[in-house]
């Protein structure tokens, strides 16, 4: 089951961090349809946050059509963010990316420069999506 981690120094609201972590896991195929999210009680007693924060995050995921609460049972993943892309494509693309990062490091770029290059290029080439 997915475990949330909150970074209090990030400046991102805690509920948004939960939303982003679920979306991220859905994209990477770490969460799939039918998987259960941790209960509100489980979340508050592992990451020490207000229960309403978790409710708010789960509600937002529900509006986005990604999860559905089943009363008495919990909250389940009912949507997907990977579309029809097969898992093998993710594996191949990730391997390509690792090769690219190694190449960049050999070329003498430090971590910060790698990140700056990736973020800058992403901004130029992607239609903005949160």
């Amino acid at each position: 089951m997915i475990q949330f981690h909150l970074d209090s120094a990030s400046g991102v609201a805690p509920y948004l961090q939960i939303v982003q972590q679920v979306r991220h896991a859905l994209r990477l195929g770490l969460l799939r349809e039918g998987d259960q999210l941790p209960t509100v009680r489980e979340v508050v007693s592992t990451v020490t946050i207000n229960p309403n924060t978790v409710h708010k995050a789960y509600r937002e995921l529900e509006y986005a059509g990604l999860v559905t609460p089943r009363p008495g049972l919990g909250t389940f993943v009912t949507g997907s963010l990977t579309g029809d892309v097969p898992a093998a494509s993710y594996v191949r693309l990730r391997a390509d990316l690792v090769r690219w990062i190694e190449d960049a490091q050999r070329a003498g770029l430090d971590d910060e420069s790698v990140e700056a290059l990736v973020h800058g290029t992403l901004r130029e080439h992607l239609r903005v999506e949160p």
Binding site: L6, S8, G11, A13, P14, V40, R41, V44, S45, T46, V47, T48, I49, N50, P51, N52, T53, K56
Partner: protein, 298 residues
Amino acid sequence: MTSALTARGLTKRYGRRTALDDCTLDIPTGRVVALVGPNGAGKSTLLGLAAGLLRPTSGEIEVLGDAPGAGPDQLARVGFVAQDAPTYANLTVADHLELGRRLNPRWDAKAAERRIADLGLDTGQKAGRLSGGQRAQLALTLALAKRPELLLLDEPAASLDPLARHEFLQGLMAHVVDHEASVVLSSHLVSDLERVCDHLVVLTGSRVQVATDIDEATGTHYRLTGDARDLDDLPPGAELVHATDNGRHRTVVVRSALPVVADRVQVEQLGLEDLVLTYMARAATPALRTVASPEATR
């Protein structure tokens, strides 16, 4: 729906000293409230009044729809732990649990025993021989085990080390989920409470400076920094909370329902800690406030 706590014109004086002045509040149930303010601001007085241990000099206070300490039913619904986590020095931990069981109609003996075991406290130990942190944990265990609908905790984390504080707040959040309880936690530090609280009351100089849901507060406060000339006029719809000048450089905090856009001025949303500090700073410089904005407080 009844409120967890309502106060109208609530005032408490000790002789000539005013501890709480004309305090008006309405805190809905189901909230975890951060009651924040410097030492001596009136936090303990407000909690003492809510617990029914103090009587108001004037004004009214209701807790869960009834007068504080009105009778046995009301007392059973409210849990209170005072600042120094008082326990009976000559009674053992087990004695305290037995006392709790006999005095509280909704006592959850299993939960109390489990919590004491989890904390690693020796039930045969006298409370007077426990460390400050252990004593605080014992007092909190008693307050949780009586299964209150409203928990009033005065500086609960003050004597706990960081790990114990973390564990205590985890247990408290689980309690809120399990029993749909409301909580008021006082602290002079907001960083401890940022993640666990969803409602904020800032108290300084015996007065309520701001009382609001935290999401609403952090979503509507902005800090504007820039040249003083560019900040003479505030963005439309924004009301001034506090302004500080440093030569030509001016920093302004405003409250605005709409996103703030301004030319040649840096705009940032205010985090909870900065927001609390701003209201405290404003209370400390009342002259500026009255000149700048008589309407800034709700």
